[in-house]
Point group: C2
Chain length 486, copies 2
């Protein structure tokens, strides 16, 4: 049994924006603490201009919510700020999470403006968790989304996550490796991500290994003797074609084959990968090592991998570092958390946030998201955001329409509808079990395959439909007419 350690996360209750506390104290003082509020997390823009994102981080969000509690030290710290009433601190001391929470399962393709997490409960609680809901889902969805782009660029060739040393701190490395695996990577260099999350860990040697021996061939020989069945040699310490590959071939012949094994691969970590890989392939083939893989790992991302393959690079697998683990070309997943309704006298009063920037106007009310799939092709047709209790009857034709250009209409037939938001907490109790990470990864691949190729494009993808149901659209119009001119 492998000990699960990174999962035994410390209590992150105090990892919260300070204003969540000042507001909570204010709600408490103004008699609003038991008012039921509805908050949605959603995002407005897919990173890198992509057509969709990948949901990730739900498992860690669950752990956080399960462990929500204020320690005596937290209370003492808060008291020292001299901003909070003793009654409020007492309330925090006895804090017990009581909200209902819905989330879209990890690995699901998600789209702008649809709720991906909904929290319903006493306003103090539902407000308080904002920072961690966003932090958790934003980070892992960012990395899962980037990983999925890179994996798709590699067209079936394995992609390994190699970025720990350039990650934005420890959780960035470890949970980033987890998210990258969900997005489709086959493994990681991050050892602890295997021990704690089951992400396969891989690794062979650095240039320093080669430098530690009197010569490259002696370094290779030593490695081959230690790992005859798993021999991958790093061939670019001195000169790939003049030294690295010839020495590797020599050692494969002298140390690997006689022991009854086959060489596993060579790795090129610098230089002109397209050119070097083709030449190295030729040399390996001529030496009788057609089965020896070539692995490339040099500042790669989806664009460089696409270019390499277009140039016919003879690369069998990719190691991707900093550009994956930080999503460096677009390192922010901009999820937001907005109040969408409040209960009054047992009725749900929808709330809307008006903005001069029309893209920033929110979808009001307590909602659900349906994904409609074509029964014939299995492809996803559209997402429809509905009121929470609305039912889309997929035995009948269903009309969808563009929420802005409402004359754009389409009647969908022969489809099935799937609710995306799954209830994960009921009155503070977790009622959902995260699938194991391999199942999440598999589910992600399957769901990405339900998207049309036009949605999968890296640049200028087709805008997948995210429509509003007629009742939700009507509700929004009503509120816009009522409050739009303030």
């Amino acid at each position: 049994m492998v000990r699960i350690d990174w999962k035994e996360k410390k209590n992150l209750t105090m990892l919260t924006d300070f204003y969540e506390l000042t507001m909570s104290n204010g709600y408490f003082e103004h008699g609003l603490k038991d008012t039921i509020a509805y908050f949605d997390m959603f995002f407005r823009k897919v990173p890198d201009g992509g057509g969709f994102a990948i949901m990730a981080g739900v498992e860690q969000l669950i752990e956080y919510l399960k462990n929500l509690r204020f320690t005596p030290e937290d209370i003492e710290y808060l008291r020292s700020k001299k901003m909070f009433s003793e009654e409020f601190l007492k309330y925090l001391e006895n804090f017990k999470f009581e909200c209902d929470v819905w989330a879209i399962p990890e690995g699901t393709p998600i789209f702008p403006n649809e709720p991906i997490v909904t929290v319903v409960g006493p306003v103090i609680q539902a407000q308080f968790v904002e920072t961690m809901v966003l932090l958790t889902i934003n980070h892992q969805s960012l990395i899962a989304t980037k990983a999925n782009r890179i994996v798709r660029a590699a067209q079936g060739r394995p992609v390994m996550e190699f970025g720990s040393r350039r990650a934005q701190s420890y959780d960035g490395a470890v949970l980033g490796a987890r998210a990258a695996y969900i997005g489709g990577c086959v493994g990681t260099a991050c050892t602890i991500a295997e021990r704690d999350f089951g992400v396969p860990a891989v690794g062979t040697m650095a240039h320093s290994w080669v430098q530690m021996f009197p010569s490259e061939v002696e370094a290779f020989r030593a490695y081959a003797r230690t790992y005859p069945d798993k021999c991958v040699l790093l061939v670019d310490t001195y000169n790939v074609l003049k030294s690295g590959v010839p020495n590797a071939i020599k050692v494969f012949k002298e140390e690997i084959v006689p022991r009854g094994y086959r060489p596993q691969g060579i790795r090129i970590d610098s230089g002109d990968i397209a050119y070097l890989s083709k030449k190295a392939r030729q040399m390996l083939d001529e030496a009788g090592f057609k089965d020896c893989k070539i692995i490339a790992s040099s500042s790669l991302d989806e664009y460089i991998i696409r270019d390499l393959l277009q140039q016919g690079a003879a690369v069998d697998a990719f190691g991707v570092g900093e550009k994956l683990i930080t999503s460096s070309s677009d390192p922010v997943f901009g999820g937001v958390y907005k109040l969408v309704a409040v209960q009054q006298n047992g009725r749900i009063i929808p709330k809307i946030k008006i903005s001069e920037n029309v893209e920033k106007i929110t979808n009001p009310g307590f909602k659900q998201v349906y994904r409609l799939y074509d029964r014939e092709t299995g492809k996803a047709i559209a997402d429809v955001i509905t009121l929470h209790d609305e039912v889309i009857d997929d035995t009948q034709p269903y009309e969808i329409f563009d929420p802005i250009h409402t004359w754009k209409r389409k009647t969908v037939t022969n489809f099935f509808a799937r609710k995306l938001l799954v209830k994960i907490f009921d009155k503070g109790k977790c009622i959902y079990k995260s699938p194991d990470i391999h199942s999440i990864r598999k589910y992600c691949q399957e769901q990405v395959n339900t998207l049309w190729p036009e949605v999968l494009r890296f640049e200028n993808p087709h805008n997948y439909y995210v429509d509003l149901s007629k009742p939700l659209w009507n509700l929004k119009q009503e509120l816009l007419n009522k409050y739009g001119n303030i």
Copy 2:
């Protein structure tokens, strides 16, 4: 007493690239485990094209090194990989860190190509810590450097770090807030960063507070009554000039002044900050609230802040979120960790990594870094990388020269020389106490002030001199002549 919790970091020993372990096992098998190796961490490029970076993360590096040990569960996990010898696993079970470590203190301006961390010890150990040395220093130096740019753009106006929700996971938020404070921010929204690191936490209200009440004025009134002495109101939920500022003024007059307080500020979180702030300033002034601060917080970074101030924006303080906490315009600090020497028979054998890319050629040998300051102006003149035991006698004139264009020479007089690399571990024992965070922040400001304005420019800064001493330059030439043509 506030409990220190984030500092009680879990054991991060297994947060390591898997190849550190395969190499270690190999060194062990080939009788190299006690060979003393010298590794340098350095970086090649300042993020955002800046003139210098800020060193940060040493305190966390120390904690990591102090806690290095393999648990029985770690050993069990490694055994399950079926790649490591039992003797090696035994060695890990009894692992005790024995290296000497030098680091440049946190808050120091640092420059490309100079060693900022040096680790000397048994090769298995000195190699093994690579991932965490890089991960720790890369992340915090990235954020401290970015924060310092943003703080300088604000020209003395306070900058607060507001980015937790968009950080790259939990440590990214918390240690990012720490690094941002070192770089010059005055506070953070991240509560736990105050509880655990003493970074002042600040915060008031979100738009949801305003939405929770029947009207904006009622929301402001409620807040003012709860926090009459700390009243900062968010004025952009509906319309800054038509609603937010007039309502704020009304509430300041009705609720704050009669209680004997002064309003602290208003915050604008969207829209045309330059225009809105000037108009709001006028309205506040006319209402008799010249002392009421205007705080802006809307996708800011150093460039936008500079533009705002050039346009005469009436902003007194800035809240900076995602662009700071991820350093989004350049989210990777590219520190590397290279073998620079090996001991053989008690002698230090320098190692060099040759590359076709001349910028990637390393500086060989066991080294020290001196910073030369002008005694008259106090300004930093140049850094000189020397052999470790070399002494720069600052009572005598000292000739520095460009290591590439060696005819560019300058004799420095009336200067004092300061060693930058400080020994923090002696044979595995920590011999250094991190200064408190406020002292680090103050030292950082003082040291940044020793740089000429030309080095401080955001774009095309003057290249600060990082030269090699004559003995080090000679050593490097010798090795280049010997190995450069392989």
